[in-house]
């Protein structure tokens, strides 16, 4: 087994294996980041009472306020430099807002400006409101996403890594050459899987550490449980990769088969969103797919602090897939071309 691992020790183009998941985390993390407090630009038309209004609005840190003459106000609104402008009335008790109601920013800015101006004019709200911001690590989208990406990385790494390597060796007649030696076939297949683990474990560690450093994604459960899950996931998917590659004669056919296997799981198994959104009837099926128990278990360990003992069903399904795929692959494996 160790000797076959040596065989695989090739500095292949690992770039994508390692960096693609990280790029994905960065892209999605940035897209769904918690936005800073929004700011609005409100102009006030120059008028005898404009300075009072500017002062009222300027009291709110979210409002950027400035006074301009009418033409400038119109120009700035039209080109999107301001969200709305305020035309002061003859006294403090009348005011006009000019805005485009189809622009969301304008409507929010109007509500904000109105609030400030009404308060400045002496309005007292009957209900006292305080707002608590809810932004705990562990409950954000990125926290949900990272276990999903780990699962996806394990799936892709296992399938592509093992599947391609095996079919490539079949094309090069290397499998046939091995067949001509007294090598044990099961040793070879185990070696193919083991060599994959060597690549995948660092990949996963990299992803976990990266998302911890840059997105503060924490592991609430034990690192040991996480490690065992990653290992089992890697073994499971390299077994599936072996089965997918056990008959294919060309790289085209093996990549087609792999997409066939992976595409349903990308969408169904809850990588990017919870599979609770699918109809009730298909959920038992989804839960039996190879990827679903892995991602579920990863989320339970990372987000809910579950221990291995609490993950019995997930571990069972994954082990069953591993055993079935490896056994079947050993049986139907095509050594010659």
């Amino acid at each position: 087994m160790a000797r076959l691992r040596e065989f695989y020790r090739q500095p292949e183009a690992i770039f994508w294996v390692y960096f693609f998941p990280i790029l994905l985390v960065v892209a999605l993390g940035v897209a769904f980041r918690n936005k800073p407090v929004e700011r609005f630009t409100v102009d006030v038309q120059l008028a005898p009472r404009s300075s009072e209004i500017v002062a009222a609005l300027g009291a709110d840190s979210r409002v950027q306020v400035q006074a301009y003459d009418l033409a400038a106000c119109q120009q700035r609104l039209r080109t999107g430099k301001s969200d709305l402008y305020v035309v002061p009335g003859a006294d403090l008790h009348s005011v006009e807002y000019v805005l485009d109601p189809t622009r969301p920013g304008s409507v929010v800015a109007k509500n904000l400006a109105d609030q400030r101006i009404q308060e400045a004019a002496g309005r007292i709200d009957p209900v006292q409101v305080t707002i608590q911001q809810y932004n705990e690590p562990g409950s954000r989208y990125i926290d949900f996403l990272v276990p999903g990406l780990l699962g996806m990385g394990l799936m892709g790494g296992g399938l592509w890594g093992v599947g391609f390597a095996v079919v490539d060796m079949r094309i090069r007649k290397l499998l046939k050459r091995f067949l001509a030696t007294p090598m044990k076939k099961s040793h070879f297949l185990m070696g193919a899987m083991a060599s994959r683990l060597v690549f995948m474990v660092p990949e996963i560690i990299l992803l976990v550490v990266f998302s911890w450093l840059f997105f503060d994604v924490r592991v609430y459960g034990s690192w040991f449980a996480l490690f065992i899950l990653v290992l089992l996931g890697a073994v499971e998917f390299s077994g599936i990769g072996l089965l997918v590659a056990s008959r294919a004669r060309t790289l085209e056919s093996v990549s087609g088969l792999m997409n066939l296997v992976m595409l349903p799981m990308w969408t169904l198994s809850g990588v990017f969103f919870s599979y609770d959104r699918f109809p009730e009837v298909v959920q038992p099926v989804i839960r039996l797919l190879p990827l679903t128990p892995l991602i579920d278990a990863l989320r339970k360990v990372m987000l809910e602090g579950a221990t291995l003992g609490m993950l019995g069903p997930e571990l069972l399904i994954m082990s069953a897939w591993t055993a079935v795929c490896f056994g079947l692959a050993l049986k139907i494996f095509r050594w010659t071309d």
Binding site: L4, L174, P182
Partner: protein, 322 residues
């Protein structure tokens, strides 16, 4: 191992590949290879050489027929046979980014007993390349490595499938030396080739294959002697020779007493003779008399190539070109 025992014994070997129409690659081959012998399987591409050797190597199941290797049966003693044979396939692309030493050590690990990897590399003169990546090796070095991988398990029987195809003459000679030194350890070698010269120099006995059958079997000397004439004269007739004259010239050539066999293929004429001197004298006499100018005249000793031409009426090289 008993000197008289058979390293390979196969009877009535048939292999038909299913298809439309089915391809009968091997049609009733009987071969007995003695222990300690170097046995050559010769023939053009598509003659069934590789199919036969792969059946003997246990890589292909025969459609019918019996095979015994080292007095063992593939169906019951596969692992034992594999421990005792070494194989070099026609084309195997090893992993480019492993070193020569790593690859040899890997293959050594498959066998219970065998040579030290360094020893195998020394036998094929690759010691100084042992740290090199496989992709940096030349064609000849790769073939030598393939032989090293085949002998690293110290086999009793070595199968080499076209080990020198595509190599330059000096690499080829180097590989012959390696095979000869392997044989000195009292081992059996079975080698396929389409180079007649290689078989003549290397092999104790040769089987010539054509269209899935053995058409001749014996030592190279016996096979050449079977022509009854050890000299070959070849020349080319002028292209503008009228058909009628050509016909009568052919007949007269066949009548010359010193000429054993006359083969005409287009403009080129292939003649065998026991005595080249009198053959040439008679030939020139006839050509003088007919006033025919010939070109590219050559004379040489007969080779296995001539045996093949004699048996099939075709040149090996025609098949190679196709």
């Amino acid at each position: 191992m008993n000197k008289d025992s058979l390293a390979i014994d196969c009877k009535q070997l048939f292999k038909t590949y299913p298809g439309k129409p089915p391809v009968e690659a091997v049609r009733g081959v009987d071969l007995q290879v003695h222990s300690g012998e170097c046995f050559g399987v010769l023939g053009p591409n598509g003659a069934g050489k590789t199919t036969t050797i792969e059946i003997l190597e246990g890589l292909l199941p025969p459609t019918s027929g019996s095979v015994r290797v080292l007095d063992m049966d593939w169906s019951t003693q596969e692992v034992d046979i594999r421990q005792h044979i070494g194989v070099s396939l026609q084309e195997t692309k090893l992993s480019d980014r492993l070193t020569v030493a790593e690859t040899t050590a890997l293959f050594r690990s498959f066998y219970r007993d065998g040579l030290a990897p360094e020893e195998a590399l020394e036998l094929v003169a690759l010691t100084d390349k042992s740290k090199a990546w496989i992709k940096t090796l030349s064609g000849g070095q790769k073939q030598r490595l393939a032989v090293a991988l085949a002998i690293v398990g110290d086999p009793d029987l070595l199968f080499l499938d076209e080990p020198t195809t595509g190599l330059d003459p000096s690499s080829r000679r180097q590989l012959w030396d390696i095979i000869r030194s392997f044989r000195q350890r009292n081992k059996t070698v079975m080698i396929t080739t389409h180079y007649m010269e290689e078989a003549e120099r290397l092999c104790d006995r040769v089987a010539i294959f054509d269209q899935g059958q053995v058409i001749a079997l014996g030592t190279p000397r016996e096979l050449i002697a079977s022509l009854g004439a050890e000299h070959v004269v070849e020349f080319t007739l002028p292209a503008d020779l009228p058909a009628q004259e050509r016909q009568s010239l052919n007949e007269s050539l066949n009548d010359l007493p010193a000429l054993e066999q006359v083969e005409v293929a287009g403009d080129s004429v292939h003649v065998t003779a026991a005595d080249s001197h009198s053959a040439l004298r008679q030939l020139f006499g006839l050509l003088e008399q007919r006033q025919v100018d010939i070109s590219s005249l050559t004379t040489r000793h007969a080779s296995l190539e001539d045996v093949f031409v004699h048996l099939t009426g075709r040149y090996l090289s025609d098949d190679l070109a196709g």
